[in-house]
């Protein structure tokens, strides 16, 4: 390390939260609400309040009207139609039951939620049991302000590179300043990861880069449902602008309605069956595929939700959406051509009902652990078949992690940091900067995107195509030791590239194991759901550098909703 002459700083805190999005901020504020004496530090790669996904999407909260459906009814509907019996029904029940409480919390924390003149929430129905409520896009910023009022310390522009462990427990994190490279050694009694999902930097705006997932994996935390990191959705062919609800009005180049091939009535949520239908039409030479937005009320006027104040008045968001929609519309003109593209959304860090990972003292909340929590079952991270659940799942996780983390902090004495481990992790962190010769992070990322990107490799899969993807990933993995960084921005890219290789390998290897189709997970060569053999989770674990796979039975016998057929 002498060559780099890196400055070092040591910090000690009760709780360190990695990631300043809505999940991390929720955990921070809730801990302070419960005990204002606890020291909390948030470290964030960019700027807390602006980072994360809650403020970069459609600003939607899932809503359950308990006069129309009970949590039990929704769990039953979800197990049959969305989670395909792979979900943790107890955790999902708790999520649904806390719906009103979570929305109330956000309102108390300064988040702008729309109400009508009579004081009722302005809800738009999205299905037989669910609705959605628009929330203004400064949601994360408002909760940052609340966190600051509570005395939460926030350090921006700091990248977490690894988790410190001692005797198998998490005792802190290490990281570096994105601007000047200073190495931080942060000691904590509890570590909460809120770093988002893996999106391979493939489609614009979907920003999770999986570096938190990779750090947890390296530290020895188990992963679950990695094969469900294969979210994809519809994009405009010219502007690459995300489309919502437009799967309901898809047509091939012969003018045939192809939505009818996979769906009987309009649905709110994205479906992998629309991805496979697009692929089949394209492969049969019946592409390109177009949408007829005028044929369905929501797609005919969908932009109004975002660019006008008439449904939900969201002035902060409207300012931003008008720019985004305006630039896309200028590019698209009258073109209605659409493409199905891979996004990713791998969220595999395994957590229990207390949001603790398999490493004591290490918690994971929000999109890093959505599939890993098993709450949603056989679907990728939000909005995979459950629109509006992304923000509220993050809030739900944050509230739970706050309580369990607080419990640990109150019982735990300070643990020592292993200085030999710090030295090794420091070397690993800065290694790409020491290379005078080598390859760029972008080259690695491009290789990985070419492996996972084609939807027939990752969404509408077959053994042959999974193997093609995996071979590409293995080849890229061999290049990793030559990664070279020119500055700290580039160093961060190198760490993200490493995380992408890991995520893609887990994705393909786990997908190769699951020899069935279930929920979002579609295999052309195994089209049936196999409840006899595959009511199981695939678990991935780092065993001294070797990627180990095992399975765990879904405890279906203790859940109220069971599959009718084997």
């Amino acid at each position: 390390m002498t060559k780099l002459n890196i400055e070092e700083k040591r910090i000690s805190t009760d709780v360190v939260i990695v990631g300043g999005g809505i999940a991390g901020l929720t955990a921070a504020v809730r801990i302070k609400e419960l005990n204002s004496d606890i020291d909390i530090l948030i470290i964030e790669k960019n700027t807390t309040g602006y980072s994360g996904k809650a403020n970069r999407g459609g600003g939607v909260l899932q809503y359950f009207d308990f006069n129309r459906c009970t949590p039990e009814q929704f769990v039953g509907y979800h197990a049959h139609n969305v989670g395909a019996f792979l979900g943790d029904q107890e955790l999902l029940y708790k999520y649904v039951s806390m719906n009103n409480e979570m929305i109330e919390k956000l309102v108390n924390w300064g988040v702008k939620v729309p109400y009508d003149e009579d004081g009722n929430l302005k809800v738009i129905p999205t299905g037989p049991m669910t609705g959605m409520i628009g929330v203004d896009l400064d949601i994360t910023l408002q909760v940052r302000k609340t966190a600051a009022k509570f005395g939460v310390k926030i350090v921006d522009k700091t990248v977490m590179s690894d988790i410190l462990t001692n005797n198998g427990e998490a005792v802190g994190v290490v990281g570096y300043d994105l601007i000047d490279g200073t190495f931080s050694i942060i000691k904590a009694k509890s570590v909460i990861l809120a770093t988002g999902s893996q999106n391979y930097k493939i489609m614009p705006m979907w920003n999770g880069r999986g570096d938190g997932i990779a750090a947890a994996y390296r530290a020895g935390a188990e992963m679950r449902n990695a094969e469900f990191g294969n979210f994809a959705q519809q994009y405009k062919a010219k502007s690459h602008h995300d489309m919502v609800f437009s799967e309901n009005v898809m047509y091939n180049s012969l003018g045939e309605n192809i939505t009818k091939n996979f769906r009987r009535f309009p649905e709110a949520d994205v479906s992998s069956k629309a991805v496979s239908e697009w692929y089949k039409q394209m492969s049969a030479g019946k592409g390109p595929v177009y949408i007829h937005p005028d044929e369905y009320e929501v797609t005919a006027h969908g932009d109004a939700l975002f660019t006008t104040p008439y449904v939900w008045n969201r002035p902060y968001g409207i300012k931003i959406w008008k720019k985004i929609y305006g630039k896309a519309a200028e590019k698209d003109g009258d073109c209605k051509e659409v493409v199905m593209c891979f996004v990713g959304e791998q969220s595999p860090v395994k957590v229990g009902h207390d949001m603790q990972t398999t490493i004591p003292g290490l918690y994971a909340v929000g999109d890093i652990s959505y599939s890993g929590s098993a709450s949603p079952g056989a679907v990728p991270a939000p909005p995979g078949r459950n629109r509006g659940s992304g923000i509220l799942n993050a809030v739900f996780n944050g509230l739970i992690a706050a309580e369990s983390s607080l419990d640990r902090v109150s019982k735990k004495d300070e643990s020592a940091i292993d200085d030999d481990q710090v030295m090794l992790l420091k070397e690993r962190t800065y290694a790409p900067l020491l290379k005078s010769d080598g390859i760029d992070a972008e080259e690695i990322m491009e290789d990985i995107r070419e492996a996972v990107g084609p939807v027939e490799n990752s969404v509408y899969m077959s053994q042959h195509r999974i193997d093609i993807g995996l071979r590409k990933v293995e080849k890229t993995k061999n290049k990793l030791e030559n990664l070279k960084a020119q500055d700290y921005h580039d160093l961060c890219n190198c760490h993200e590239a490493q995380a992408m290789v890991l995520s893609a390998e887990m994705q393909f290897r786990a997908a190769s194991m699951r020899k069935e189709s279930r929920g979002w997970f579609l295999r052309e060569d195994y089209p049936e759901t196999d409840n006899r053999n595959w009511l199981k989770y695939i678990i991935v674990k780092n065993n001294e550098g070797k990627m180990d796979f095992s399975t765990e039975n879904v405890p279906i016998e203790k859940y109220p909703v069971k599959p009718l057929f084997k």
Partner: protein
């Protein structure tokens, strides 16, 4: 590698730092001496356009080069 451009009119900039804070992908860096933004890593821009939309003096223009964005599909028109 994309080819989007973040064009900043520094003469109109009042140094409020909102664009720097809002950039969640570290494209915009801050020149502390001049108290002005720098479009340091434009190749990583994901055209969220927050910088442009939030700038109180309208001095930023995010110019999107859509053709430089790949879609990674196996059909010639979407590679």
């Amino acid at each position: 590698m994309t080819n989007h451009k973040v064009i900043i009119d520094k003469d109109k900039c009042i140094g409020c730092k909102l664009c720097y804070k809002a950039c969640f992908v570290d494209v915009i860096r801050w020149d502390e001496e001049e108290n002005k933004p720098i479009a340091a890593y434009q190749e990583d821009c994901v055209h969220c356009t927050y910088c442009e939309a939030l700038c109180p003096k309208e001095c930023i223009d995010v110019v999107i080069d859509f053709e430089s964005e790949r879609l990674y599909q196996s059909f010639d028109r979407y590679r």
